[in-house]
Protein backbone atom coordinates (compact mmCIF):
# COMPACT_ATOMS: atom_id res chain seq x y z
CA UNK A 1 0.00 0.00 0.00
CA UNK A 2 1.10 3.52 -0.64
CA UNK A 3 0.00 6.92 0.69
CA UNK A 4 -3.63 7.63 -0.06
CA UNK A 5 -4.85 4.08 0.49
CA UNK A 6 -8.58 3.42 0.50
CA UNK A 7 -9.83 3.36 4.10
CA UNK A 8 -13.60 3.48 3.79
CA UNK A 9 -16.71 4.02 1.72
CA UNK A 10 -19.13 6.87 2.32
CA UNK A 11 -22.78 6.86 1.31
CA UNK A 12 -24.21 10.25 0.45
CA UNK A 13 -27.46 10.87 -1.37
CA UNK A 14 -27.71 7.18 -2.18
CA UNK A 15 -24.28 7.23 -3.89
CA UNK A 16 -21.24 5.32 -2.68
CA UNK A 17 -17.77 6.84 -2.93
CA UNK A 18 -14.34 5.86 -1.65
CA UNK A 19 -12.63 7.61 1.26
CA UNK A 20 -8.84 7.74 1.05
CA UNK A 21 -6.23 8.31 3.74
CA UNK A 22 -4.89 11.83 3.59
CA UNK A 23 -1.14 12.24 3.92
CA UNK A 24 1.35 9.80 5.38
CA UNK A 25 1.83 6.20 4.49
CA UNK A 26 -0.91 3.69 5.28
CA UNK A 27 1.46 0.71 4.98
CA UNK A 28 1.15 -0.05 8.66
CA UNK A 29 -2.03 -1.55 10.16
CA UNK A 30 -1.91 0.80 13.14
CA UNK A 31 -1.53 3.86 10.87
CA UNK A 32 -4.40 2.54 8.77
CA UNK A 33 -6.55 2.25 11.91
CA UNK A 34 -5.66 5.79 13.02
CA UNK A 35 -6.58 7.12 9.56
CA UNK A 36 -9.93 5.31 9.74
CA UNK A 37 -10.68 6.73 13.19
CA UNK A 38 -9.72 10.26 12.06
CA UNK A 39 -12.01 9.94 9.03
CA UNK A 40 -14.89 8.60 11.16
CA UNK A 41 -14.58 11.64 13.41
CA UNK A 42 -15.30 13.76 10.31
CA UNK A 43 -18.07 11.71 8.70
CA UNK A 44 -19.78 8.32 8.93
CA UNK A 45 -18.48 5.68 6.51
CA UNK A 46 -18.14 1.94 6.06
CA UNK A 47 -14.56 1.36 7.30
CA UNK A 48 -12.33 -0.99 5.31
CA UNK A 49 -9.86 -3.50 6.69
CA UNK A 50 -6.15 -2.97 6.22
CA UNK A 51 -5.06 -3.58 2.63
CA UNK A 52 -8.65 -3.84 1.41
CA UNK A 53 -9.82 -1.90 -1.63
CA UNK A 54 -13.19 -2.01 -3.34
CA UNK A 55 -13.18 -2.28 -7.13
CA UNK A 56 -15.91 -0.63 -9.25
CA UNK A 57 -17.59 -4.06 -9.56
CA UNK A 58 -17.19 -4.46 -5.79
CA UNK A 59 -19.15 -1.23 -5.21
CA UNK A 60 -22.00 -2.67 -7.26
CA UNK A 61 -21.81 -6.20 -5.86
CA UNK A 62 -21.61 -5.13 -2.21
CA UNK A 63 -23.72 -1.95 -2.43
CA UNK A 64 -26.29 -3.17 0.08
CA UNK A 65 -23.68 -4.14 2.69
CA UNK A 66 -21.66 -0.92 2.22
CA UNK A 67 -24.75 1.30 2.44
CA UNK A 68 -25.89 -0.47 5.60
CA UNK A 69 -22.45 -0.23 7.29
CA UNK A 70 -22.13 3.47 6.37
CA UNK A 71 -25.60 4.07 7.80
CA UNK A 72 -24.90 2.10 10.98
CA UNK A 73 -21.61 3.92 11.57
CA UNK A 74 -23.61 7.04 12.55
CA UNK A 75 -24.41 5.59 15.93
CA UNK A 76 -23.00 2.06 16.12
CA UNK A 77 -19.58 0.66 17.05
CA UNK A 78 -17.99 -2.76 16.89
CA UNK A 79 -17.31 -4.68 20.10
CA UNK A 80 -14.80 -7.53 19.96
CA UNK A 81 -15.65 -10.65 21.93
CA UNK A 82 -13.07 -13.37 22.25
CA UNK A 83 -14.09 -16.65 23.85
CA UNK A 84 -11.21 -18.90 24.86
CA UNK A 85 -11.38 -22.39 26.17
CA UNK A 86 -9.92 -22.75 29.65
CA UNK A 87 -8.55 -26.28 29.99
CA UNK A 88 -9.53 -28.14 33.14
CA UNK A 89 -7.14 -30.12 35.33
CA UNK A 90 -7.98 -33.37 33.59
CA UNK A 91 -6.53 -31.98 30.31
CA UNK A 92 -3.21 -30.92 31.69
CA UNK A 93 -1.93 -33.82 33.78
CA UNK A 94 1.57 -35.09 33.09
CA UNK A 95 1.44 -38.78 34.03
CA UNK A 96 2.97 -40.78 31.18
CA UNK A 97 1.21 -44.14 31.49
CA UNK A 98 -1.20 -45.18 28.74
CA UNK A 99 -4.31 -45.00 30.86
CA UNK A 100 -3.58 -41.38 31.89
CA UNK A 101 -2.92 -40.46 28.26
CA UNK A 102 -6.25 -41.92 27.15
CA UNK A 103 -8.02 -40.22 30.04
CA UNK A 104 -6.52 -36.84 29.02
CA UNK A 105 -7.45 -37.40 25.36
CA UNK A 106 -11.05 -38.23 26.34
CA UNK A 107 -11.25 -35.19 28.62
CA UNK A 108 -9.88 -32.98 25.81
CA UNK A 109 -12.48 -34.25 23.33
CA UNK A 110 -15.25 -33.75 25.91
CA UNK A 111 -13.86 -30.30 26.63
CA UNK A 112 -14.11 -29.33 22.94
CA UNK A 113 -17.81 -30.18 22.94
CA UNK A 114 -18.32 -28.45 26.27
CA UNK A 115 -16.50 -25.31 25.04
CA UNK A 116 -18.42 -25.04 21.76
CA UNK A 117 -21.75 -25.59 23.46
CA UNK A 118 -21.09 -22.90 26.05
CA UNK A 119 -19.56 -20.52 23.50
CA UNK A 120 -22.66 -20.90 21.30
CA UNK A 121 -24.85 -20.19 24.34
CA UNK A 122 -22.87 -17.01 25.07
CA UNK A 123 -23.14 -15.98 21.40
CA UNK A 124 -26.92 -16.46 21.48
CA UNK A 125 -27.27 -14.55 24.76
CA UNK A 126 -25.32 -11.57 23.39
CA UNK A 127 -27.29 -11.61 20.13
CA UNK A 128 -30.49 -11.22 22.17
CA UNK A 129 -29.25 -8.16 24.10
CA UNK A 130 -30.95 -4.84 23.46
CA UNK A 131 -28.87 -2.61 21.18
CA UNK A 132 -27.16 -5.45 19.26
CA UNK A 133 -27.86 -4.80 15.57
CA UNK A 134 -25.75 -7.63 14.13
CA UNK A 135 -23.11 -10.20 15.03
CA UNK A 136 -20.51 -12.10 13.03
CA UNK A 137 -18.08 -14.90 13.73
CA UNK A 138 -14.49 -14.11 12.83
CA UNK A 139 -11.64 -16.60 12.58
CA UNK A 140 -11.84 -19.31 15.19
CA UNK A 141 -10.37 -22.61 16.20
CA UNK A 142 -11.17 -25.59 18.39
CA UNK A 143 -10.17 -23.53 21.39
CA UNK A 144 -11.31 -20.07 20.41
CA UNK A 145 -14.38 -18.29 19.09
CA UNK A 146 -13.89 -14.69 18.00
CA UNK A 147 -17.02 -12.59 17.53
CA UNK A 148 -17.75 -9.09 16.26
CA UNK A 149 -20.78 -7.30 17.67
CA UNK A 150 -22.35 -4.33 15.92
CA UNK A 151 -23.79 -2.41 18.88
CA UNK A 152 -25.64 0.85 19.38
CA UNK A 153 -23.03 3.21 20.83
CA UNK A 154 -25.30 4.34 23.64
CA UNK A 155 -25.73 0.70 24.73
CA UNK A 156 -22.20 -0.53 23.96
CA UNK A 157 -20.72 -0.14 27.46
CA UNK A 158 -23.66 -2.02 29.05
CA UNK A 159 -23.38 -4.76 26.41
CA UNK A 160 -19.63 -5.08 27.02
CA UNK A 161 -20.15 -5.48 30.78
CA UNK A 162 -23.03 -7.95 30.34
CA UNK A 163 -21.05 -9.99 27.79
CA UNK A 164 -18.06 -10.27 30.08
CA UNK A 165 -20.29 -11.50 32.89
CA UNK A 166 -21.28 -14.49 30.70
CA UNK A 167 -17.91 -16.21 31.28
CA UNK A 168 -18.46 -19.72 32.61
CA UNK A 169 -16.38 -22.64 33.79
CA UNK A 170 -14.25 -23.57 30.83
CA UNK A 171 -14.87 -20.41 28.79
CA UNK A 172 -12.93 -17.16 29.32
CA UNK A 173 -14.43 -14.00 27.83
CA UNK A 174 -12.37 -11.00 26.72
CA UNK A 175 -14.17 -7.90 25.46
CA UNK A 176 -12.45 -5.18 23.41
CA UNK A 177 -13.32 -1.95 21.65
CA UNK A 178 -15.02 0.24 20.75
CA UNK A 179 -13.82 -0.38 17.16
CA UNK A 180 -14.99 0.99 13.81
CA UNK A 181 -17.39 -1.43 12.07
CA UNK A 182 -14.56 -3.27 10.29
CA UNK A 183 -16.33 -6.63 10.35
CA UNK A 184 -19.61 -5.37 8.89
CA UNK A 185 -18.59 -3.34 5.83
CA UNK A 186 -18.18 -6.28 3.47
CA UNK A 187 -19.43 -9.89 3.46
CA UNK A 188 -17.07 -12.25 5.21
CA UNK A 189 -14.71 -14.29 3.04
CA UNK A 190 -15.99 -17.50 1.54
CA UNK A 191 -13.26 -19.34 3.41
CA UNK A 192 -15.40 -18.87 6.53
CA UNK A 193 -16.64 -22.23 7.79
Amino acid sequence: MTAGAMIGVRAKGGMLSAVYATGGSAADPLLHHRAVVDALRQEPMAPLRFGCTVSPEGFARHAHCLHRAAQLSHDHVEIGLRLDRVPGEAHTGSATDGRSYLRRAAARAGGDTHFHRHAADIEAAVRAMAGVADMRRLAGSAERMSLAICALRSRAAAIAIAAEALATDGVAVDVSGPWPLYSFSLPLAEVRQ
Binding site: A139, A148, A156
Partner: protein, 75 residues
Protein backbone atom coordinates in the same frame (compact mmCIF):
# COMPACT_ATOMS: atom_id res chain seq x y z
CA UNK B 1 -11.72 -6.39 29.89
CA UNK B 2 -10.02 -4.16 27.36
CA UNK B 3 -13.24 -2.36 26.38
CA UNK B 4 -12.88 1.41 26.92
CA UNK B 5 -16.33 3.04 27.23
CA UNK B 6 -14.89 6.52 27.88
CA UNK B 7 -13.38 6.91 24.39
CA UNK B 8 -14.98 7.07 20.94
CA UNK B 9 -12.66 4.46 19.40
CA UNK B 10 -9.91 2.28 20.85
CA UNK B 11 -6.43 3.08 19.53
CA UNK B 12 -4.00 0.44 20.78
CA UNK B 13 -0.66 1.39 22.21
CA UNK B 14 2.03 -0.47 20.21
CA UNK B 15 3.51 -1.63 23.52
CA UNK B 16 0.22 -3.21 24.60
CA UNK B 17 0.27 -6.64 22.99
CA UNK B 18 -3.28 -7.61 23.94
CA UNK B 19 -5.05 -4.58 22.48
CA UNK B 20 -2.84 -4.77 19.38
CA UNK B 21 -3.88 -8.42 18.91
CA UNK B 22 -7.54 -7.45 19.23
CA UNK B 23 -7.09 -4.80 16.53
CA UNK B 24 -5.20 -7.14 14.17
CA UNK B 25 -7.96 -9.73 14.67
CA UNK B 26 -10.33 -7.26 13.02
CA UNK B 27 -7.97 -5.74 10.46
CA UNK B 28 -6.41 -8.96 9.17
CA UNK B 29 -9.07 -11.55 9.87
CA UNK B 30 -9.53 -12.64 6.28
CA UNK B 31 -5.96 -12.01 5.22
CA UNK B 32 -4.85 -9.30 2.80
CA UNK B 33 -2.39 -9.25 -0.05
CA UNK B 34 -0.14 -6.23 -0.08
CA UNK B 35 1.43 -5.47 -3.43
CA UNK B 36 4.18 -3.00 -3.95
CA UNK B 37 7.43 -2.18 -5.65
CA UNK B 38 10.78 -1.64 -4.10
CA UNK B 39 13.42 0.26 -6.04
CA UNK B 40 16.97 0.60 -4.87
CA UNK B 41 18.79 3.35 -6.67
CA UNK B 42 21.95 5.39 -6.39
CA UNK B 43 22.19 8.92 -7.73
CA UNK B 44 18.91 8.50 -9.58
CA UNK B 45 19.99 5.28 -11.34
CA UNK B 46 17.86 2.23 -10.56
CA UNK B 47 20.09 -0.64 -9.46
CA UNK B 48 17.47 -3.10 -8.34
CA UNK B 49 13.73 -3.51 -8.74
CA UNK B 50 11.75 -5.93 -6.60
CA UNK B 51 8.06 -6.62 -6.99
CA UNK B 52 6.45 -7.50 -3.68
CA UNK B 53 3.38 -9.54 -3.02
CA UNK B 54 2.96 -10.15 0.66
CA UNK B 55 0.15 -12.04 2.34
CA UNK B 56 -0.78 -10.80 5.78
CA UNK B 57 -3.23 -12.78 7.84
CA UNK B 58 -4.09 -13.45 11.43
CA UNK B 59 -2.66 -16.70 12.79
CA UNK B 60 -6.09 -18.35 12.89
CA UNK B 61 -6.78 -17.40 9.26
CA UNK B 62 -3.35 -18.59 8.12
CA UNK B 63 -4.05 -21.89 9.86
CA UNK B 64 -7.38 -22.24 8.05
CA UNK B 65 -5.65 -21.53 4.71
CA UNK B 66 -3.08 -24.21 5.55
CA UNK B 67 -5.78 -26.77 6.38
CA UNK B 68 -7.76 -25.86 3.24
CA UNK B 69 -4.61 -26.23 1.09
CA UNK B 70 -3.87 -29.66 2.58
CA UNK B 71 -7.46 -30.78 1.98
CA UNK B 72 -7.40 -29.75 -1.67
CA UNK B 73 -4.03 -31.46 -2.18
CA UNK B 74 -5.40 -34.64 -0.69
CA UNK B 75 -8.54 -34.54 -2.87
Amino acid sequence: MSYRPEIDFAIPNPADDQSLIHLLDRLLDQGVVVSGDLRISVAGVDLLFVGLKLLLASVDTADRYRVAAHSSEAA
